[in-house]
């Protein structure tokens, strides 16, 4: 039988091998589909850019959805009264061209820009602002914005003496003042009032809404939305903002956001030229391939600066949950947490976890937050001997020579640290922490788990310790009161306390409330330095390194102003352009 069926020629094998080798060398040396071009020079009008995001917006109505894609959608299609510049963090006039504040800081009168129209041609007036304020506090209708707009713990009262003036009255003086209004989406009354009155506001402008129904004052209008695939935006021909040369903005005719859920595929698409930018920063493992693409002229890598957030490590310090845990006796002592801080070499964390692209930090306010950062705080430079000494001081020693410190009753300093699975810098950071803690006799077992599971355990205080990063919502500490004050929902180590559990937390509460209500900036800074000093002495959360934020974009993209806050590039989408439209 075998003789009847022809055997392949011996040259077939050689041919296949040669083909594979040729394919390898071809792929290796193959030019990418789009060659780089110079990204500097005057902005040109026209053309399109393609960005990518990992998910689709939950709603086109930012009032009822706080997810990142919904926030990006809102920034592209809607305007705010004032804008915090994501590069300088300075407050800029936007739909309101100027404002005055009363001497007590409670009343702010904003004058709206004249001639602004919605993308359907309807004039923008103070009635739209009043409607937006009403919608923001309609919590039962699904608003997720109102809880962040409570200066003095009460909703802002708004009134409109005329069509271009709006008066905001705060319940108490507010340090951030008008800055708070950057968080208030301004939506069209003529399109959404019926939904708000009819109780359907939560579903208004859901992703099934025809694009023509969605109007805005932002630089772009939605042209097409294909669920799970892409959003296509066209330039808003009625956009109010003008370029420095007096011409119209935005420069781009079209902006496409492709939905690419997988992060590796997102980077590959960027490298190939299929997209011009990604939604987020590069991971540390992406630096090398991105740098290589920069060298061959396809991409530009940009450092936006030091991140304003750092990975944190904390124990659950809720006495009512932990009172039966014998380890709580020493975990609640600041010396224990200080010992861990001394045990960790922050330079090594920066080197190994972030591949050198990070700076050591000793508190939640990183050098990236230039206005509120202070270097003059207690620091715990790497000193394992000092760590052992501190542990001894609170009765923790390795009495049975098993490498683990224990108290007089034999309770060992052994903990499980939960962290989010799949986030490489969390997993690497937790491992470095584990190794360093082991050298001073503290055992940390690392358990990477699903995000939703981790959050559930976090809210229930059903954990020993957590390693993860909380993203601050505002650079101004008064905008993050939830983190600082003991009753706050983001007071991570002991959530929503009825009364401050410790004296130092009571002191921070007092100082933070004073800071938030103080109008003088210098005084606010002084108070906040004191808050940071108390925090650094008691270390409820330990911070080790804050990464430098890098992102990459195609070389043909111009007008990029880097920001460490998302959206990193598209925050100023109206002034982005391409060099070859």
């Amino acid at each position: 039988m075998a003789s009847r069926i022809r055997r392949p020629s011996r040259y077939v094998g050689l041919g296949v091998t040669a083909g594979l080798l040729a394919a390898f060398f071809f792929l290796r040396g193959c030019p990418t589909t789009r060659q780089a071009s110079n990204g500097t020079g005057p902005a040109m009008r026209g053309g399109q850019i393609v960005g990518s995001d990992r998910a689709t917006p939950r709603s086109f109505n930012r009032m009822v959805a706080a997810d990142q894609p919904s926030e990006l959608f809102d920034r592209l299609t809607q305007g705010r009264l004032v804008r915090i510049n994501r590069a300088t963090f300075e407050l800029e006039p936007w739909l309101a061209e100027k404002w005055e504040s009363s001497a007590d800081g409670r009343v702010h009168t904003l004058h709206l820009r004249r001639g602004v129209v919605w993308s359907d041609g309807t004039p923008f007036t103070s009635a739209d602002v009043l409607f937006s304020v009403r919608a923001a506090y309609a919590l039962k209708s699904g608003s997720v914005v109102g809880t962040s707009l409570m200066p003095g713990g009460a909703p802002i009262k708004a009134s409109a003496p005329d069509g271009t003036t709006v008066v905001f009255e705060y319940a108490a003086p507010s340090g951030p003042g008008v800055r708070l209004l950057d968080m208030l989406p301004i939506l069209p009354k003529h399109k959404l009032e019926a939904a708000l009155d009819g109780g359907t506001f939560g579903k208004a402008w859901d992703p099934a809404t025809p694009p023509a129904e969605i109007v805005g004052t932002g630089p772009f209008i939605l042209r097409e939305f294909q669920i799970g695939q892409r959003l296509v935006f066209d330039r808003n021909p009625r956009y109010w903002r003008k370029a420095p040369d007096g011409g119209t903005l935005p420069y781009l005719d079209r902006l496409v956001i492709e939905i690419v859920p997988e992060q590796n595929a997102e980077l590959l698409r960027l490298q190939s030229g299929a997209t011009d930018l990604t939604s987020g920063e590069l991971r540390s493992e992406d630096y090398v391939p991105a740098r290589r693409s920069e060298e061959n002229g396809t991409l530009k890598m940009v450092e936006a600066g030091v991140s304003t957030d750092a990975d944190g490590f904390w124990f659950c310090l809720k006495p009512e949950k932990k009172k039966t845990d014998p380890r709580f006796a020493f975990v609640q002592k600041p010396e224990f947490r200080q010992a861990i801080s001394y045990a960790v070499d922050r330079e090594e964390v920066a080197r190994t976890v972030f591949l050198g692209e990070a700076v050591p930090v000793w508190g939640p306010i990183t050098p990236g937050n230039r206005h509120w950062f202070t270097p003059d705080l207690p620091r715990y430079s790497y000193n394992p001997a000092r760590a052992v000494e501190l542990l001894k001081r609170i009765g923790l020693e390795d009495r049975n020579r098993n490498g683990i410190v224990e108290d007089e009753k034999g309770t060992e300093a052994k903990f499980t640290v939960i962290t989010q699975r799949g986030i490489s810098n969390y997993e690497r950071g937790a491992i470095v922490l584990k190794e360093k803690a082991a050298r001073v006799g503290i055992v940390l077992d690392i358990a990477p788990i699903e995000y939703s599971t981790m959050l559930e355990r976090f809210f229930d205080c059903d954990y020993d310790a957590i390693y993860m990063r909380f993203l601050s919502t505002d650079l101004d500490p008064a905008g993050n009161l939830d983190f600082w004050v003991s009753s706050g929902s983001s007071h991570v180590w002991n959530l929503e306390q009825k009364m401050p559990a410790t004296e130092w937390e009571r002191r921070i509460d007092t100082l933070m409330h004073e800071q938030a209500a103080t109008l003088d900036d210098e005084r606010r800074r002084t108070i906040f330095i004191e808050v940071q000093r108390i925090f650094a002495e008691n270390l409820p959360v330990l911070y080790f390194a804050s990464p430098r934020v890098f992102f990459a974009h195609s070389a043909r993209l111009a007008g990029v102003v880097p920001s460490v806050k998302r959206p990193l590039i598209l925050w100023n989408a109206d002034t982005l352009s391409v060099t070859n439209p």
Binding site: I5, V256, I259, Q271, E450
Partner: protein
Amino acid sequence: MGAFLLRRFVFAVVLLVCTSSTALLLTRLAPGDLTSQLGPIASRSEIETTRARFDLDRSPLTQWALWATRAIRLDFGDSFLFNRPVGPLVVRAAGNTAALAVVALAIATLLGISLGILTGSRQGSRLAAFVGMVSMVCVSLPPLLTSLVFVFIAARTGWLPAGGMSSAGASDMGWVAWIADVAWHLPLPALALAVPIAAVFERLQSQSMADAVRQPFVIAAVARGVPSRDLILRHAWPASVRPLCAVYGLVIGALLSGSFIVEYVTSWPGLGQLMYQALRGRDVYLVAACAAMGAVFLAVGTLAGDLLLAAADPRVREGDGA
């Protein structure tokens, strides 16, 4: 035949009810829920409102009963992630997955069977050894890796789009241009999905073909001087195809599970990607609806496999008739 189809229909309904109910209850009972998507700084009131909207404030059984009552009226609930009813979402995604699965299956079948015939009929040759080795590698490759490899090749060469189902603006170009555009985007995910299955088909076909060519009736045909091509295609292959038909239904079911990661990596907006997002976001009603649609796929796949087997093997037909 009527009784057979009725049995299959009842099986499909039972499978659908069991799968979707189990998916709903497991998603509900797993630690964490969809409110984690609101993030760690969501207010208590926001979390409570969201839990109430998705019946998460009730016991799992009550939630299941409410969902089942609504499902009888074809109301499968809302998706949290997409803020809209899950029915149209799942139907649309299933259509996209069906298109992908049909193409992937066609590629896998053509490639797997033809290579299997080649290697099975040339046992011991270098070509057979080489193809067999490549097949073993492809069988062992996880879909994540094959997808990334194909995306990498597409990204580096520009021969194919590096992901997605259509180009921006394709829907403005008319139906014909849109279909051509989708066809241009299909090969990448289809190949990523088809390669491991083709390798399985090749191994099965190769083995059964090698067995077939040693059968007395093939040797008799050789003795009669039947040309080698006819020998293989008309005599040996029909006798060797049965094991392949037997696994066909299962492979169609496996296509869906394989499509989870392939669709995710290649940004193909199908059922796999939707299910993956739903599971990660604990989007309870979307998970249940995706599982139900997966059960439909499996039932259809099993039916197709049975019909193919019946067509290929007269003994199966006779058994059914009896």
